[in-house]
């Protein structure tokens, strides 16, 4: 399993494009691999032939684990590295009664339940001996080993025995009670599914952000009447080219302009330092069927509204198709999360570290507003900026938001 993103720890084979027996040239895409961030194309390092696929479509493997054997066409392959062996091989033979009167017949260990694909329990010899002495059932540690391939090692047994009463002598003590599960078991009819690598990454990163980044929130209402008018005019003018400017493009443009004007709201807190960002790389949250991804529109502060519109559309389309490249989902300095199309009236977003701000955009709704002392109909958009308090103060966040508001309410500035 190749490392296709900096943070991936495992990958899932989306699908093999070359099957067993297929030959390929260096640079050919032989598989699509889902990392924690995106579906990546796995290009062949060299010419060859797929001799055996070890990790099939939809299956997951740890970084560095073999996923296929390649070689010359027609080459014989020894049996692939055994991932799973029949459970029977790992179990001790029950002593045949009468075969040796000095050996007490131990009851055979109960066979694992289920589909017959039971995992072999890998245990280091000393861990096995310690568990035997302490009467610890090693199956209680299945899947928790910290050694290679999940091997249960001495440290795992020591941890498991902590809290359990030490057993004097060699008497076999009863196995410790399994600790109650922390969450209730799924109810009848419920279905338990593994997370995709991307959802795992989202879960991990959002937990990390919400538990380690001190968030605060600044909200504002933006009168979008003139911005919508500008958008309408632009789209009429661009009708022949097929280009289209969205509300989100206006927001990206306004945000990028505001970010470079407010360096204190455009810096990241990293290991006790502030990293000031020279350019605004604006992440645009894209919802997927199950999950989300944030492609990054680079140097948005240097790009025209039209350029932003073209690039954002391309990024969003490829995000939905799972065709983003690694570098297109990294390096953001700010994120726009827009749920306006879903009609929400307000929400706050979780910061995407190491970015220090994220703008949550709600629906633009027609509401009465007071203009020049008179009540009029306005197109009002509610926005909430989440800020990392280690990077910027409340006033910094408020000023950033004020500039975004000013540029959207006087939208000729977006063209400047």
């Amino acid at each position: 399993m190749p490392r296709l993103s900096d943070t991936m720890e495992e990958g899932r084979i989306g699908r093999w494009l070359k099957r067993e027996g297929d030959s390929f040239r260096e640079g050919d895409v032989i598989a699509e691999i889902e990392t924690d961030k995106a579906t990546m194309e796995f290009q062949a390092y060299d010419d060859g032939t797929v001799l055996r696929i070890i990790v099939d479509d939809g299956e997951t493997a740890a970084l560095g684990a073999p996923i296929a054997i390649v070689g010359e066409a027609g080459e014989e392959v020894a049996d692939a590295p055994a991932e799973k062996e029949p459970a029977a091989a790992a179990e001790p033979e029950p002593a045949t009664s009468g075969s040796d009167p000095n050996v007490a017949a131990a009851p055979p260990a109960p066979a694992p339940q289920g589909n017959g694909k039971a995992e072999v329990l890998r245990v280091s010899p000393i861990a096995r001996r310690m568990a035997d002495t302490a009467g610890l059932d090693l199956r209680s540690l299945a899947g928790k080993g910290s050694g290679p391939d999940g091997r249960i090692v001495k440290a795992d047994v020591e941890r498991a025995l902590q809290g359990a009463t030490p057993v004097p002598g060699t008497d076999v003590a009863p196995a410790p009670e399994p600790s109650p599960p922390a969450v209730p078991a799924p109810g009848e009819g419920d279905e338990v599914r593994e997370l995709s690598p991307m959802l795992k990454a989202v879960a991990r990163r959002m937990t990390e952000s919400k538990t380690t980044v001190p968030h605060f929130y600044v909200s504002s209402e933006i009168d979008m009447t003139r911005a919508l008018q500008l958008r309408k005019e632009l789209n009429e003018a661009l009708a022949d080219s097929g280009e289209k400017v969205s509300v989100n493009d206006l927001i990206v443009r306004a945000s990028a302009q505001a970010l470079v004007q407010h360096p204190q709201a455009h810096r990241s807190y990293v290991d006790g330092t502030h990293v000031y960002h020279a350019h605004a790389h604006v992440g645009i949250a894209v919802a997927l069927d199950d999950g989300l991804i944030v492609p990054v529109l680079r140097d948005a502060d240097t790009k025209s509204l039209r350029q932003i519109a073209v690039e954002a559309r391309d990024l969003a389309e490829r995000a939905r198709a799972g065709k983003l490249r690694q570098r297109e989902i990294e390096g953001g300095t700010f994120t726009v999360s827009n749920m306006g199309m879903l009609g929400v009236s307000a929400f706050a977003a979780i910061i995407n570290p190491p970015e220090s701000t994220i703008l949550a955009v709600s629906a633009t709704i027609q509401r009465p507003v007071v203009r020049d002392g008179a009540v009029a109909v306005g197109d009002i958009m509610s926005v909430t900026l989440s800020c990392d308090h280690r990077a910027c103060s409340g006033a910094d966040g408020a000023r950033l938001l004020q500039t975004v508001k000013r540029h959207l309410e006087a939208p000729t500035l977006l063209l400047a």
């Binding site: 010899p125 090692v153 440290a155």
Partner: protein, 329 residues
């Protein structure tokens, strides 16, 4: 007890044994007036004369053979081979004669011969002059092979080797010659052959080594100690006979073991120990026995490549950390 170099410890042992026993004499290339290529025999030619500190031609097969003959006739020759690389031309004398004579003469004749010779690498002496071949000899019944790692052991074991009634290959190391340590002033001090030493006690990991690699292992142990990892270092001192018991006792305590050596790992000291350890300690191991040795290439001349090929502390440390990671530490 004053600090002396490994070189001086050897010189002192030779001096005292020459003085103690009239049957002891030295042979080798330029060991007399020139005092040996590494000055181990400094002053001895002047003190004991050319009869007992004998200069030889550049003819290892000849003077090792002469040493064997002298030993069979009752003398106790100490033959210096300038480096272990040059012993290869005397292989037949060492393996087929010195090692076999007691057996083939039905035990009636022994060969109380000592061959002193340094191995080791690191001075850009390149492919032919940078080898550590002691493991080849340690596999040969009839020989004793020792490789002390510090001045006190060098002093005590050289005396024991000279007094031994069978052939002893006494492996020194070019880098060790300038290493200093305390050496007992007592002329009766000896160190037995076939007994390993616990150079440093620890609980989490055993590193087994011999010769200069022990010094490397001790420094690695210090570094890991700073991270709270307690490393035990076993100094084999002798390769044949091999003190498996001391290693086993340590592994039973730590459950994890790495063997480091300056020679090649393949068929090396680590290979032998891995076999012995898995046999004696199968149920004590928390991870497979790890080995670190020289890269399996002829030693390159280029300094960066030489460094890349040597089993430096950094490699031993990396292997140790990797092994400990496998054990969840």
């Amino acid at each position: 007890m004053a600090d002396v170099t490994y070189r001086e410890a050897l010189r002192r042992a030779l001096d005292e044994e020459l003085d103690r026993d009239r049957d002891v004499f030295l042979m080798g290339e330029e060991i007399g007036k020139f005092e040996g290529s590494y000055k181990v025999t400094a002053g001895l030619w002047q003190k004991y004369g050319a009869e007992r500190v004998r200069e030889t031609p550049i003819s290892e097969e000849g003077f090792v053979g002469a040493g064997i003959g002298a030993a069979m006739m009752g003398l106790r020759p100490v033959v210096e081979i300038m480096t272990i690389n040059f012993i290869l031309v005397a292989m037949d004398q060492v393996v087929n004669h010195a090692a076999k004579i007691r057996y083939m003469f039905g035990g009636t004749v022994g060969v109380p011969l000592v061959i002193r010779t340094p191995g080791g690498a690191g001075a850009q002496l390149t492919a032919q002059h940078s080898q550590s071949l002691e493991a080849w000899f340690a596999g040969c019944p009839g020989l004793k092979v020792v490789a002390p790692s510090n001045p006190a052991d060098a002093y005590g074991m050289l005396k024991t080797a000279i007094r031994d009634d069978d052939p002893v290959l006494f492996c020194e190391n070019l880098v060790l010659y300038n290493v200093t340590g305390t050496v007992p002033e007592n002329g009766d001090f000896t160190v037995p052959i076939g007994v390993a030493a616990v150079a440093k006690e620890g609980d989490d990991l055993t590193i087994v080594a011999h010769s200069y690699t022990v010094q490397r292992a001790l420094r690695v142990a210090d570094r890991l100690g700073q991270d709270g990892i307690s490393v035990e270092v076993i100094d084999l001192r002798s390769l044949r006979p091999l003190d498996v018991d001391t290693v086993v006792e340590s592994v039973r305590k730590t459950n994890r073991v790495l063997v480091a050596e300056e020679g090649w790992s393949t068929f090396g000291v680590g290979a032998e120990l891995a076999a012995r350890i898995q046999k004696a300690c199968f149920d004590d191991l928390d991870a497979p026995v790890e080995r670190v040795g020289a890269a399996e290439v002829p030693m390159p001349y280029s300094k960066p490549l030489e460094l890349a090929a040597l089993p430096l502390e950094s490699k031993i440390e990396a292997a140790a950390r990797s092994l400990l990671r496998e054990c969840g530490l």
